[in-house]
């Protein structure tokens, strides 16, 4: 069985090399996407405002800071349940030091939690909170004053959501997305190719050969997974060596790539069942790929999406793959954090293979 599967896999890889269009889609398109999007993210103009979810600040000095912050032109308050760039906690026992205290004002610590992808917004929030606390102190103690210079009475500490250090380069965000594009492109290309084989009669010939059809299908899945995994590895190598994408845990990165490649094989089998015509299968496959990629964060980072799309995207294998790859590169997650996306990816691969194989085998039983 393994010998047959390898034979079929090698044959499919050989045919992929001969098919320049398919090769470009599976190898060059994801690389182009990673480079282009990484450059765009790296050079994008800094934001001018940030959305902040404020917790507390209902009374006392904290409410003064809150009011000043509300008036700040760069800050927009998020309503409860709305996505926010930062979470600001204003303890109700916050005490701003009195002006006129000899020496410098003692600084109170205020903590702001941020999404690690929002470094620029973090700087805006930090500056706005410092300014608001200074204005609050000033207006409380010297209501008639205007523009009195001085050191803010608070120290603002930025903490990153999930204890994650933000990525240093835009390529750290774009390369996991590029790997996901490779995985999805492989699934679409190989799936459509299986439909074409069914139409051309080569699958009927393979079914009649003295080998189990399971081995034939397994060989095709192996070829798809091999190309997806190899492309992912090549992209990771390019990102790491030339573009400064950090790989915090090589073993985790390897596991994420393998799981993504397995998922690709399962998706390929499902694509192969979508239609009996290659053109239709290809079109439907790409439509599904686009939806999975878009909702999963392979086109637009999840943090930029509306909340309903963030929730819907939790069902996309693209999201799981990105989470797993980011965890292994710059998020510095533990194996426990990684276990959920890895399990979902492998489950997609195995489940898709079993279901797709059953449907596909039934549909190729006629000449």
């Amino acid at each position: 069985m393994i010998r047959t599967a390898l034979l079929i896999a090698i044959n499919d890889l050989h045919r992929l090399v001969l098919d320049r269009t398919a090769l470009a889609f599976t190898l060059l398109f994801p690389l182009g996407f990673g480079l282009f999007y990484g450059m765009v993210v790296s050079e994008v103009a800094p934001p001018h405002h940030a959305t902040v979810a404020v917790i507390g600040g209902d009374s006392g000095d904290a409410s003064l800071v809150r009011d000043e912050l509300l008036a700040h032109p760069a800050i927009e308050f998020a309503e409860p349940g709305e996505p926010a760039d930062a979470v600001l906690r204003l303890p109700d026992d916050l005490t701003l030091p009195r002006m006129g205290t000899p020496g410098e004002l003692p600084q109170t610590l205020i903590s702001v939690e941020l999404d690690p992808r929002r470094i620029a917004e973090g700087a805006i929030v930090k500056s706005a909170v410092r300014a608001a606390s200074w204005q609050a102190t000033l207006h409380r103690d010297l209501p008639a004053s205007r523009d009195v210079a001085g050191q803010p009475p608070v120290r603002v500490e930025l903490t990153w959501r999930g204890g994650v250090t933000p990525p240093e380069s835009g390529f750290s965000l774009s390369f996991p997305q590029a790997v996901v594009w490779a995985v999805l492109a492989c699934a679409a290309t190989f799936g459509a190719s299986m439909v074409a084989e069914r139409r051309a009669g080569t699958l009927a010939r393979l079914r009649a050969a003295p080998v189990g059809f399971h081995a034939v299908i397994l060989g095709k899945a192996l070829a798809c997974a091999a190309v997806a995994g190899t492309t992912g590895l090549a992209l990771a190598a390019i990102g790491t060596i030339w573009l400064g994408v950090p790989v915090a845990h090589p073993a985790q990165a390897g596991a994420a790539l393998i799981a993504a490649a397995i998922a690709s094989a399962g998706l390929m089998m499902l694509v192969a069942t979508l239609s009996s015509r290659r053109a239709a299968a290809g079109q439907i496959a790409w439509a599904i790929v686009l939806v999975l990629a878009m909702s999963g964060g392979a086109m637009l980072p999840v943090a930029f999406m509306p909340e309903w799309l963030q929730q819907a995207g939790a069902l996309s294998p693209a999201r799981w793959a990105i989470e797993a790859l980011e965890a292994a590169t710059w998020r510095r997650s533990t194996w426990a954090d990684l276990s959920q996306p890895l399990t979902l990816l492998i489950g997609t691969g195995v489940g898709g293979f079993v279901v797709g194989h059953a449907i596909f085998a039934r549909s190729t039983a006629r000449l």
Partner: protein, 242 residues
């Protein structure tokens, strides 16, 4: 070599094959003749293990063709050119010859034999997609012969071929049968069946409605064009005769 016993295949409520029984012996060419939808391709699918019968039995050398081992002596030539168009003739044949698990030396020898046999030695390194339909059909047959099958099943192998290419394919099939290969052959062409087959089974509505054999001289006695008249008569009223 191949036996069908009371074979039934149903697609939903429709019976594609209805209690079909026949045998194909080594060296014998059996033709399945019938109009579109008569059940010819279903019979081929059942003979090659692609489709399991709902009732009755299909056996190749006494074994169920659903089992890969039982299909070892089987060569299949489908109506479609079941070859990879982006690979060369040799690459295609090597792939299909490799599947049964032969040694590399044996694979190379049988591949060259198959290519020689169909007269494609000078086109072996051409991509299949660049060949004419007649040459593709020969390459297709070569790929089925590469593992030296003892039972060859051909589903309308001459469809779309010009007279020269057709004659070449029929001659090849005749030679294979002379070498002891059992051949099951479907066609819609009466002259082909008359010229080539030792026995002709007329399928209509999934049933064998007539069987003509050269051995009992029924087929041999038919004059040119008579098989067609018989076929038209039988398939018009769907009655059964033998």
């Amino acid at each position: 070599m191949l036996s069908f016993r009371e074979v039934e295949v149903r697609y939903a409520e429709r019976r594609a094959l209805d209690r079909v029984s026949f045998d194909v012996a080594p060296g014998e060419i059996v033709g399945l003749l019938g109009p579109n939808g008569a059940g010819k391709s279903t019979a081929i699918a059942a003979a090659t293990g692609l489709l399991g019968p709902d009732a009755g039995t299909v056996r190749i050398n006494g074994a169920d063709p659903k089992s890969p081992r039982a299909r070892r002596p089987l060569g299949l030539v489908t109506q479609q050119i079941g070859l990879y168009e982006d690979l060369t003739v040799r690459q295609n044949i090597r792939l299909f010859a490799s599947l049964p698990g032969c040694e590399r030396r044996a694979i190379n020898a049988s591949m060259h034999r198959a290519i020689e046999r169909v007269g494609l030695a000078d086109r072996a390194t051409d991509r299949v997609g660049r060949l004419s339909l007649g040459l593709k059909r020969r390459a297709h047959i070569a790929a089925s012969l590469a593992h030296a099958p003892r039972l060859l099943v051909l589903d309308e192998p001459t469809a779309g071929l010009d007279p020269h290419a057709r004659a070449a394919v029929l001659e090849l099939v005749h030679q294979l049968a002379a070498d002891g290969v059992a051949v099951l052959f479907t066609t819609q062409l009466f002259d082909e069946a008359e010229r080539l087959c030792h026995r002709v089974l007329i399928l209509h509505g999934g049933r064998i409605i007539s069987e003509r054999s050269a051995r009992d001289e029924q087929l041999g006695e038919l004059k040119a064009g008579e098989l067609e008249r018989l076929f038209m008569q039988l398939t018009a009223n769907g009655s059964r005769s033998s």
